[in-house]
């Protein structure tokens, strides 16, 4: 389906396929989840050239992969991510805290470029992750801590 014809109603709410019950979701979803979900859905409406330099429209598979990633990583204590479209058609999720920066470029369901910096420890990582997202879990937990 052409991206321009997609609407919010066409987008699968990833929570529908969650193994959690509705009650569990109320207890475990972070308070920002709905707003971030809406921001991700809004990316479907961007047209090619949205950045004024000829950017590709965000790809549906990248938007959905960002949904799924947030579902996998989110916890009640997780801070709200910023949702940023990339000129390449991907989606970037980013968190900025005084001590920690975490940016995840979501290019497809199986390709994530991650930048992590902890200014207190001096630890800086730049990694391309495919299926194994375990390093990401530990960095996200630091944001929540």
């Amino acid at each position: 389906m052409p991206v321009a014809l997609l609407s919010e109603a066409d987008v699968r709410d990833p929570r529908e396929s969650s193994p959690h019950s509705a009650t569990e979701e109320l207890l475990t979803d972070p308070p920002w989840f709905g707003q971030v979900f809406e921001r991700l859905v809004a990316l479907f409406a961007l047209s090619p050239g949205w950045d004024s330099y000829g950017a590709v429209a965000p790809r549906p598979d990248a938007i959905e992969a960002a949904f799924d990633l947030l579902l996998q990583l989110s916890s009640p204590a997780m801070p709200e991510p910023q949702v940023v479209p990339l000129a390449s058609g991907g989606v970037q999720l980013e968190w900025h805290q005084p001590a920690i920066e975490l940016e995840i470029e979501v290019h497809s369901p199986f390709r994530f470029d991650v930048f992590y910096e902890n200014r207190e420890t001096g630890d800086t990582r730049e990694e391309e992750l495919m299926a194994d997202l375990s390093p990401l879990r530990s960095w996200v937990d630091q944001l929540s801590g």
């Binding site: 090619p48 949205w50 000129a87 390449s88 058609g89 900025h96 940016e103």
Partner: protein, 136 residues
């Protein structure tokens, strides 16, 4: 037009020359401390509609624009809500980038910042850039 991989660094563009980059509102994000900041996404290379990843992003070469009588406000006149960030050609070169003139019809001061841009380079450009006009 030459593809960007063939374009050499144009040393007639001095290190001190500012390169302007339009910033759509979506690239101006919360800084987590009550303010806002540029996203590193503003400094990614572009991909064309065929999916081919290029090794460049577009800028306006300020000295050329100013010769034409343009200023940062004029650079975004056709793009309501956008802001303008500026960084020096010297900063780009210090990050192993090349700077080249790529004049376009109607935008003679158009240029490219060419080179591989891993996250560390994107973030260094973000840190070194000054926001001349805030996105709305």
């Amino acid at each position: 037009m030459m593809v960007e991989t063939e374009l050499p660094d144009d040393r007639s563009i001095g290190d001190e020359v500012l390169l302007w980059r339009r910033i759509p509102p979506l690239w101006y994000v919360s800084d987590g401390q009550g303010g806002r900041r540029l996203s590193s996404a503003a400094f990614q290379n572009y991909r064309d509609s065929d999916g081919r990843v290029h090794s460049a992003f577009s800028v306006c070469i300020s000295c050329d624009a100013e010769e034409e009588g343009a200023d940062p406000h004029g650079y975004i006149a056709s793009h309501p809500g956008h802001g303008v960030a500026a960084f020096s050609a010297g900063l780009a070169r210090s990050l192993e980038q090349r700077v080249a003139r790529v004049p376009l019809e109607g935008e003679l001061a158009h240029g490219h910042v060419i080179g591989n841009k891993p996250k560390s380079v994107q973030k260094a450009l973000r840190r070194g850039a000054t926001l001349l006009i805030e996105p709305e």
